[in-house]
Each structure stands twice: as C-alpha cells, then as structure tokens.
C-alpha cells in the first residue's frame, strides 16, 4: 500500500461529546491523544487512515495536509 501523506486534525469542540470513540479506533502508538479524550490535534498523524473521522458519532473531526 502506498504511504499516505501526513495530516493534521481539527476538532470542532462545539460538537465533540468527549466520547473517546476516535481514540478507541486509532491504530497509532500509545499517547496519540488530547486531554479531552480525543485523538491528538497538536501534531501530525502519519498513518492518515481517517478511521477516527469515520467513527465520530457527530462527524466533528476534519483534517488538512500536515
């Protein structure tokens, strides 16, 4: 599989319900998390599978190229 380009995530905190589903599905190494039970938003993700966006019950995760 070709390697994907890294992305950086943006979470619309207004809609986020702090449910942790994005962290649960995330295949990153330990610690790729924010203090609000979500995936990290302060550093790029080099896996870029975007499963976190798919699982979010309120679709409040978006990304742009890192």
């Amino acid at each position: 599989m070709p390697k994907k380009d890294p992305v950086i995530f943006f979470i619309g905190w207004n809609a986020c319900i702090n449910c942790g589903a994005c962290v649960a599905i995330c295949p990153q190494d330990a610690g790729f998390i924010s203090p609000f039970d979500t995936i990290a938003v302060d550093r790029p993700c080099d896996i870029a599978c975007l499963l976190c966006e798919d699982i979010c019950p309120v679709s409040t995760i978006t990304h742009k190229p890192a």
């Binding site: 942790g20 589903a21 649960a24 330990a30 798919d54």
Partner: protein, 391 residues
Amino acid sequence: MPTPSYDLVIIGSGPAGSTTARFAARQGLKVLLVDKRQELGAPIQCSGAVSRHALEEVGVTPDAEFIHEPIYGFGIYNEKGDRTVIDYRRLKADEYGPGEGQKPLGYVVDRRRFDRYLMTQAERAGTEVWLKTEGLSYRPNGDGGCEVFLRRFNQDITVKARVLVGADGLQSQVGKWAGLRTHIKITELASCLQFIVDQVETEGLLEIITGHEWAPGGYAWVFPKGHGYAEIGLGVIPTMTDKNAQWHLDRFIRHSFFEERFKNSRILEIQGGGVPLASPLRTQYADNLILVGDAARHVNPITGGGIHTALSGGNIAGNFLADFLNQDKPPTAQNLEGYQNRWLEELGNKMWKLYDVKTEIFRKNDIRERDALLYQTMASYFSPHSEFKKI
C-alpha cells in the same frame, strides 16, 4: 523520597478497575487505584443497563445511591415495529415485580454514582485511590516488579508495582504500552449516540430495536431512566452506512414507527461512545501486566453490554492476583497467562461463542435475511431459556 511501592497499581476506576481493587485489597494486597478523571463516570459514555445477578455475583448490593430505575424484562422489535416481549413480571410472577417479596431482573444505573459507589467499596476494602491521576507509561525492571509513571495534579510521580492492571476502558493505552495487539477493526466498533429525554413513556422494559433501516450494523434502544425520563440511543457500524450516528438517531426519533411516541420528547442530556462488537483480546497479559474490562474487550459482542463482564472480570482478576502474589510467584507473562486461562474458563469461552454467533449474522449480505436473523437472535438471547443468560 523513596519510591512508593504497591502490590498492584490499577489504571482506571471504572467497574473493572474498582472491582479488581476491591477483591485484591480484601485479600490483603497493597493496592493503588488511579483515575484521570475528577468525577468518575463523567462524561457518561454508557446507558447503564445491568442485571441484578451481575451485581449480586460480585457482592454489590443494589443501592438507591446509583439506581435510576428497576427493570423487569425486554421488548425486542423488528424493523417494522413488531415485537417480542419477555416480561418476567408475567413469566415468573411470584418472583419478579415491584411488590413485597418480589425483585427486579436488573437496573438502569447512573454511571456517575455507580462508579463512585464501586470506588468507595474498593477504598473501604483498603485500596488507596488517587483521582486526577493519569497513567503515562510503565517499565518492567527485571527484579520481579515494574515502575509506573503517573501524573497527579501536574506532578510527575513514579511508583513501584509487582503487577500493573490496565482497566483503562475502551480507549486503553496500557495494552499499547506493553505492545499488545489491541486494535479494533472498524467493522467491529459501533459508533453510538444517545439522548436522555423527557416525555417518553416506558414500561419497566429494556427495549431493543433491530433492523438495518434504523441502525445499520447495530441496534437502537429505549431504556427507562427513572424520574419519568427515558433514554433513546443507537449504535451503527461506520462501514455499513455513509451517515453518522447522529443522523440515524435523528431519523429514528422523527421518522420511525415510534414517531408518535417520541413526538413530545425533549432532550435533557447527550452522550455517546464506542461499543466494541468484537472478540476479547487474544493476549490480555504481558510481563508485570494484565488487562481487564473494556481494555481487554471483555464486552458482550451481541448486546454490547460491558458492565457485567467488567465486574466479573474484575472479580476474577482481583482474586487471581491475590492468590498469585500471596504465593510469591514472579509476575512474568508466562505466569500471568493463568489469569487469562481462568478468565476464559469462567467467562471468556462463552464470549468467544457469542462472537461467532454475531459474526454469522453480519456475514449475511442480504439485508432482509440479516435483519430476520438479528431479531430472532436478540429475542432468543433474552429469553429465560437462553444458554447465555448469565452474561
């Protein structure tokens, strides 16, 4: 200051962690239980349905402190709204009911109060509890113990443990620290959303609505929530729909056969989370470490229920570790496999069987066939004759 030293350090004070702590401390182990939250159970990521049997089995007395409402049975619906009712007030009228000498089948609990209650019981059994304390990592140090790195109110603290217990829930990082394969497939994690609502009548039953139409890959539910409130929620598998859980829940409330029933509903709380409809982890132990509860995917893959399995898993883990450490055996991965074996025997093998049942249903490509099978499976799962009644 010398490094504080414990027999067990437990990361996460949900039902799994606090139950492990209670049983281990009761048998004389020195236990530290930490949780990163300031208020356990909050924000709520659970509907709170649990059987009375599940509580009594682990010595938890049903207490008004955490009970929202007693439950007496189930209403299972197909996609069209036809239902199978399994009401123990009718099936076993002398045993189940609200009257004197009768009892409920289960409860809907308030997870904030329930988790606090369980933590208090652990504390009274001798456990030391630190809230606002996040587990950061661990390092086995070869002399039969490990170091655990914590942050408590911004202060970095290292403690020693003979065994570290990862009871850190679905988002578990502890398993990753040890390099265990904890990954859940996207086809096996339900994305859930639920509303606590006013002005929706319930009848002491857990109502489960099946059908691809309403909740692709999962199901919808209506639970009584006490004080005249109800809870309406659903879970969907993202690969089976191009809409999110919020869209499906909105549609279920406004356009299903319950349209009339939900017409005046008013939202009081909004909650959600992920529910693994997956198999338990194949390896739930490493050197100086075991996992329990959601962290080990101890979740019923048919119902998504994980409170009962977290409580019984905690019971098994706490007692195993007490027996084990009291014999002074070194907590190597090889020796800790005994925990997983005991768990499989008492609980896990049944969960693997349920996983096979679930996989068989969702392997069907034809939606009508799948819907029929899910409805039938749910209805027989909750019947008094089900072989799986006890999980």
